[in-house]
């Protein structure tokens, strides 16, 4: 177990260092989410309800996540570095977990900017929405990382990832919007937690088969 955690830490640290050096994923996610919120601000009629605005927040989050996921395995794909990781004697699920942690970190950074921006353009963000975002991020990182790995070995990767990811993100949208607007957000948060648990287990267990040639 200690060895597994060490492998995950080594691989996740590598991804964070790569992003710090290259700076090509997080800045793009930040620009995208702010641009999307600005567009929604002008697109939404001034007398629209808070409910509509909250829905658009979740659209922005999901598409920002998709942007980050398309970049998740770029280094491994372009330089065939997945081979190097697969050759290493670590549990292959450690690669998924480490990559998921870096995806989660990048998404969290984007949301640290996006949520105050949403409050500025639309309305305040309550605790239930923040809790929903945190739970949604976990699910998005878990399932998105698996799908990004799957897409990265495909020739039609730019098409495949959105086609696979968006249908699986529908429960995240349902849970997230529900947690943001419902009087009783508890059951929506529980739904998101269940989604996270189920998809984290499936992704963890199936990653090895996804990356095996």
């Amino acid at each position: 177990m200690t060895r597994y955690v060490q492998d995950v830490a080594v691989l996740a640290r590598k991804d964070l260092v790569l992003e710090l050096r290259a700076r090509d994923t997080v800045p793009a996610m930040l620009l995208f989410v702010i641009a999307a919120l600005v567009v929604f601000h002008f697109a939404l009629p001034s007398d629209s309800s808070d409910l509509a605005a909250k829905g658009l927040l979740w659209v922005a989050i999901v598409f920002t996540a998709l942007l980050g996921l398309t970049r998740a395995f770029v280094a491994e794909r372009e330089q065939r570095l997945m081979d190097g990781l697969l050759l290493a004697p670590c549990d292959r699920s450690a690669i998924w977990l480490a990559k998921g942690i870096s995806v989660l970190a990048f998404l969290a950074l984007a949301e640290l900017v996006a949520l105050p921006a949403f409050a500025l353009f639309f309305s305040g963000v309550d605790g239930a929405t923040v809790a929903g975002v945190v739970l949604a991020d976990l699910g998005i990182a878990a399932v998105g990382t698996l799908l990004a790995a799957m897409a990265s070995v495909s020739r039609a990767r730019e098409l495949l990832l959105p086609l696979l990811f968006l249908p699986l993100a529908i429960p995240v949208i349902i849970g997230g919007v529900g947690a943001s607007v419902a009087d009783d957000p508890g059951r929506y948060l529980a739904f998101l937690a269940l989604y996270d648990l189920v998809f984290a287990i499936i992704s963890w267990a199936s990653f090895e088969y996804v990356v095996a040639e």
């Binding site: 060895r3 060490q6 492998d7 080594v10 691989l11 590598k14 260092v17 790569l18 050096r21 290259a22 280094a75 330089q79 065939r80 570095l81 081979d83 190097g84 990781l85 697969l86 050759l87 290493a88 004697p89 670590c90 095996a212 040639e213």
Partner: protein, 194 residues
């Protein structure tokens, strides 16, 4: 060390390797030759555990921790330095006395001066030498080398000659090459693809 029986690999309808039998005993040096596209790389990738055979048996005694693989790509991150790349692999392979081992390899392959340079700034020959350092870092029992001399200048090729000669005793080699004459003296067997 390696035992293959009726080993086959297909990609869709394309037959890359068809019913191949061979044995590579511990301490052996198998030279794999053949034209481009004949299946050399696929065979090496199967033996390294990177590709799953379509049918047949393939037994490789060495586990992933005991295989050193050098492929067509150096398998190092461009945005990390040479030292950081080797440190990453050293940690994943649990290399004992990692820093000393990395330092020794970088010195031996003439990369010590460039250890803190990002890999993106290294020449193709230096990248190949760094890839050799990566493949040898964990002192593997089985060395799977795909065109190890490609991109090496004369100095790099001599360094590799010396290294292979030193490692010849006590290690098992599976080497694909277009220049078999260079390794003829070390080889114990040859597998020629048509």
């Amino acid at each position: 060390m390696i035992r293959a029986r009726t080993l086959s690999k297909r990609y869709g309808e394309k037959r890359v390797i068809e019913r191949l039998d061979f044995d590579l005993p511990r301490g052996g040096f198998l030279l794999v030759t053949g034209p481009n596209g004949s299946g050399k790389t696929t065979l090496l990738r199967m033996c390294a555990g990177l590709v799953v055979p379509t049918s047949g048996e393939l037994e490789v005694e060495a586990g992933r921790a005991r295989i050193g693989y050098l492929g067509h790509e150096p398998l190092v991150y461009r945005e990390l330095t040479a030292l950081e790349n080797l440190d990453l692999y050293g940690r994943l392979y649990r290399v004992p006395e990692r820093r000393e081992r990395i330092g020794m390899l970088l010195e031996r392959f003439g990369l010590w001066q460039a250890r803190n340079e990002r890999v993106s700034s290294l020449s193709r020959g230096m990248l190949q030498r760094l890839a050799l350092c990566r493949g040898l870092l964990h002192e593997p029992d089985l060395l799977v080398l795909d065109e190890p001399y490609s991109a090496l200048d004369e100095l790099g090729a001599e360094l590799l000659d010396r290294e292979l000669a030193e490692l010849r005793d006590g290690h098992t080699f599976l080497v694909a090459t277009h220049d078999p004459a260079r390794l003829e003296g070390l080889a114990s067997a040859r597998l020629a693809f048509a």
